[in-house]
Amino acid sequence: MAVLLRRFAGHVARGFVMILVVTTISFLIIRSVPGDPLAARYQKLVEQGMAPDAAQRAVEALYGFTPKGSLWEQYVDYMGGLAHLDLGQSLSVPGAGVSTVLFSAAKWTVIPVLAGTLLSFLAGVVMGVYAAIRRTGVLGDLLAVSGSLLHGVPQYVLALLLGAIFTTLVPILPAGGTADIMIDPGFTAGYIGSLVQHATLPVVTYALAGYGGWILAMKSSVVTVLGDDFILAAELRGMKRSIVFRYVARNAILPLFTILALSLGLLFGGAIFIERIFNYPGLGLMLIDSVNNRDYSLMGGAFLLITAAVVVANIAADLLYTVIDPRVRSGGEAA
């Protein structure tokens, strides 16, 4: 237990430093991008005949703040806000805090991507075991080839293909959005059904895009473990097939948890194309909008969220290993 705690504390400290560094770098990059939305707005108002003072006040009222002072002062201001978990105000969505915008977008990304990732992980792992056991047969070859193909096709091509098939050729699924706008949001069967219907294509795309990688990774992992001495040893000791199978499966799936944790960390950033194609208002779309609108604070907030998610996922992966792999567990104790 003490090992786990010490490990955890070390990770949190390193993760904190990592977040600090990434935040600083993204702050600097964003501020050095040319173009200033506040200045542009102010300019526009003045051109429309407003007095400079009034225009300044109007901009302040519109966005709730004015970036002022040197880069260093802005940086200190920004970091000070972060310390209070205040990400600032969005510039492109007037009057809304960055965290509000982020979280309303996040639910449209996290839930479908999570569902798609878990779906593809489960299917890929099961089929990967099968492909490994039947690797000399036709079915094993087919599975491996299908995995390679799906792994090779870019996500957006899959999304366009699925979209073309299921919304145009066989129009059984809606083409975009999160729910039918004619149905009032609420905890009703109709609304939830519409949500699921709209989420189907994005989720299936995520799942298919991930599946190829999982099946290939699991197949090669199982093949490696099958060649390990302890599997032959278990067979020569007359272990039941079901027990030997569990030995293989548990040892083979271990390395895949690293990939799973990392892909979950990228949940927040990796869905730009698919959200664009299915017009799904998640973090990917939001990130594009914020870049187009020079929305510094929203961009910064999005980068921070992505960084934090990756760091947390890494910590979670490592802690998971201390639980499931005894070799890692005692690795901290050994002198």
């Binding site: 001495d229 278990a234 020569l236 005894p326």
Partner: protein, 347 residues
């Protein structure tokens, strides 16, 4: 717990194991006859590629693909011909009747489970009704071998040293009361002190539990230490076999002589050890006809090119060599008897 019958005997007859390769099926073991007398320790010595490990796996009918047992039988008392066994019957025989101990360097334990959990898995696989009793047996066996049984059962593989792992391997081979035990390179990759300990344990446990034991090794020292009988393998065939002391004191087959001559001594000149010239045959270049050793043999004759060497039996010893047939009138009173060459050549 232990069954009341005596240790089983084993009769291997005409055993031929082939491996499928790009160049067709090549024999790794061809026409081997070998008896394991009940209650004895037999040592099989050979270089890498001599077929000794394949022979060991054949005792469990466990030759791994692309290999297969092409001909012959392995009769084990109380079990019958294991070559004819398959499926559940074979699985139950493994572990229960025949214990198999892996090379020490091999990781023969599941790295994710404690030794105790794996003992329980073994019990579940073989329908042991009293898992507590099984664990107690495992603890006693480990204790008998000088380990803290309770602690080892609670340990993972990576927490054990090579010598400890090897003792765990022996425990797993014996805990279901198998009376026939096969040890494949039991001391390879262990330090000298641990080697000596393991060999002492093998000897003691063998005597205490009334086992029939087969030790596979490349190390003549190991055989000299533990084995009652010795079989020297070369190129998939038994070159010479007999009581260990007699074979080591008076080797007949030129290969055995070469092997003994190659052993460096602790005392004396290092130059006295002479390596055998040449290399042992690999699967691909084992001669199909004649004697497999002729390429490195100092006594090579014309007949060695064409005829498979006859097994020359004298007393409890036998050797397969053309040169021995000519060399009549050996020191043994019985005089050599020429037996027909066993095992047909593979087409």
């Amino acid at each position: 717990m232990a069954p009341e019958q005596g240790p089983p005997g084993v009769r291997i007859r005409g055993l031929t194991v082939v491996y499928r390769t790009a160049a067709g099926e090549l024999p790794a073991v061809s026409g081997v006859d070998l008896d394991l007398a009940p209650g004895t320790i037999t040592g099989v010595v050979g270089e890498s590629g001599s077929g000794k490990s394949t022979l060991a796996l054949s005792l469990l009918n466990a030759v791994q693909p692309p290999g297969r047992i092409a001909a012959g039988s392995v009769e084990i008392d109380g079990l019958g011909d294991v070559v004819a066994l398959g499926g559940e019957g074979l699985r139950r025989a493994r572990g229960r009747h025949v214990g198999y101990v892996f090379q020490a360097a091999q990781n023969s334990l599941n790295p994710l489970k404690t030794v105790g959990k794996q003992v329980l898995d073994l019990g579940r696989s073989h329908g042991v009704e009293n898992p507590r009793g099984l664990l107690a047996d495992a603890r006693d066996l480990l204790g008998r071998m000088g380990l803290d049984g309770a602690r080892v059962l609670d340990s993972y593989q990576h927490e054990l040293s090579g010598g400890m792992r090897q003792r765990v391997g022996i425990m797993l081979a014996l805990v279901l009361n198998a009376r026939l035990v096969v040890l494949d390179e039991p001391t390879t990759a262990l330090d000298m002190i641990t080697q000596a300990t393991i060999l002492r344990i093998v000897r003691e446990v063998h005597a205490e539990r009334g086992l029939t034991t087969l030790v596979i090794t490349h190390d003549l020292g190991v055989v000299a230490e533990v084995a009652d009988r010795l079989a020297v393998m070369y190129g998939g065939r038994v070159a010479e076999q007999g009581p260990t002391r007699e074979v080591l004191a008076g080797p007949r087959h030129p290969y055995t002589r070469g092997l003994l001559g190659a052993v460096p001594r602790l005392v004396g000149d290092i130059g006295e050890a002479h390596a055998l010239p040449g290399r042992p045959p690999t699967l691909a270049d084992i001669p199909a006809d004649g004697c497999v050793f002729r390429g490195r043999c100092p006594l090579r004759m014309d007949v060695c090119e064409t005829g498979r060497p006859p097994v020359v039996v004298s007393g409890s010893r036998s050797a397969a060599c053309h040169a021995l047939r000519d060399d009549d009138g050996h020191d043994d009173g019985d005089g050599p008897v020429v037996a027909a060459a066993t095992g047909e050549e593979q087409a």
